[in-house]
């Protein structure tokens, strides 16, 4: 397996996938993927994150609010299997058939069912569903999908909020 240091993150990757990013100056990143999950640490003075394990497929790096790296914004960043890094905004879109980028009632319903325990969200759905609370009018994910997220997604569906 190849290992590559990414700022303060060390990801051990399979030979078939690559993830990279520019240097990061913030700690407490949350890394999630279909094969890796790890919780964020709280020590902001040192490399606060170490994830070891297979990371093939899609890996999402979620920086904390206020990240200052030139390569990242405060929105979740998704790394594709080809190695390209691109921003993946938390938009409340959970329905895989919704390619509009805007949540619909179907997305709100998925979120409702998930919070009620009737279905399990995929790691990428969790990232897109974790929109609440809002800070300065933008999603400030708190690491969980709950009633607040459902309400915010619904209000975006009916155009009462936007970001």
């Amino acid at each position: 397996m190849a290992a590559k240091t990414i700022g303060f993150l060390v990801l051990t990757l399979t030979a078939t996938s690559v993830a990279y990013a520019s240097a990061m100056t913030s700690a407490n990143y949350r890394v999630s993927s279909d094969s890796i999950s790890a919780s964020s640490a709280t020590n902001s003075a040192s490399p606060a994150y170490l994830v070891i394990g297979p990371a093939s497929g899609r890996v999402t790096l979620t920086p904390p609010e206020g990240a200052t790296s030139p390569g990242y914004s405060t929105r979740p960043l998704a790394l594709s299997t080809s190695g390209a890094a691109y921003p993946s905004p938390t938009n409340g879109v959970l329905d895989p058939t919704n390619s509009s980028g805007e949540p619909s009632l179907a997305d709100a319903l998925i979120a409702m069912r998930a919070v009620m325990g009737d279905l399990t969200l995929s790691p990428s759905q969790i990232v897109h569903a974790d929109v609440a609370p809002l800070k300065n009018g933008r999603p400030a994910p708190d690491g969980r999908v709950d009633l607040g997220d459902v309400l915010l997604i619904l209000r975006r569906v009916v155009k009462l909020v936007s970001w």
């Binding site: 319903l109 409702m112 609440a132 609370p133 709950d146 459902v150 309400l151 915010l152 619904l154 009462l160």
Partner: protein
């Protein structure tokens, strides 16, 4: 996260609609219109309006939910929101677990008003009581009770709700 909600939950009243039939209070088949009333004022911080409510009601033996004869799902109107200024802004999700001979049933639901619940809004819950059963307030357990406001979108879990069952 727990909000400072003690004392305010007395506003949560659960009254039950019993199965239609004749008879006086407490007798088999007596029919009563029932409402679940959740007073929104005071449940969240000043200036915040509730936009979402979810809770689960454990149903004692003999208490069931009217079902749609075709879908076998909770019938339309089992959980209804009354008083919303724009019904188009109201959404709900209901899950019913029927009781068995040994286990209580449950009714779990989530109701959202995208514009926020007003102080006079309430939720109506319609239930049926099988003849020969006489449930009282203490027979109904509330769990997973939480609210969220349309400003801070923070889920507030409400513990130890006060439940009043009005059966008449």
């Amino acid at each position: 996260m727990l909000g400072k909600l003690t004392g305010l939950l007395a506003a949560l009243l659960i009254a039950l609609t019993l199965g239609c039939g004749s008879g006086g209070p407490g007798s088999p088949g007596h029919s009563t219109r029932a409402l679940t009333k959740v007073k929104t004022a005071g449940l969240l911080a000043d200036g915040e309006t509730i936009g979402a409510i979810m809770l689960t009601i454990s149903l004692p033996p003999g208490v069931t939910v009217p079902l749609d004869p075709v879908t076998k799902e909770p019938a339309s109107g089992v959980v209804s929101l009354v008083g919303a200024s724009d019904p188009a802004m109201v959404f709900q999700y209901v899950r019913y677990t029927a009781p068995t001979a040994t286990l209580s049933g449950s009714l779990a639901f989530m109701v959202l008003n995208a514009q926020g619940f007003g102080p006079v809004d309430y939720i109506g819950v319609q239930l049926d009581i099988t003849a020969g059963y006489f449930p009282v307030a203490s027979d109904f357990a509330i769990s997973n009770f939480a609210v969220a406001g349309i400003t801070n979108y923070t889920e507030i879990s409400i513990g130890n709700p006060t439940v009043s069952v009005d059966i008449n």
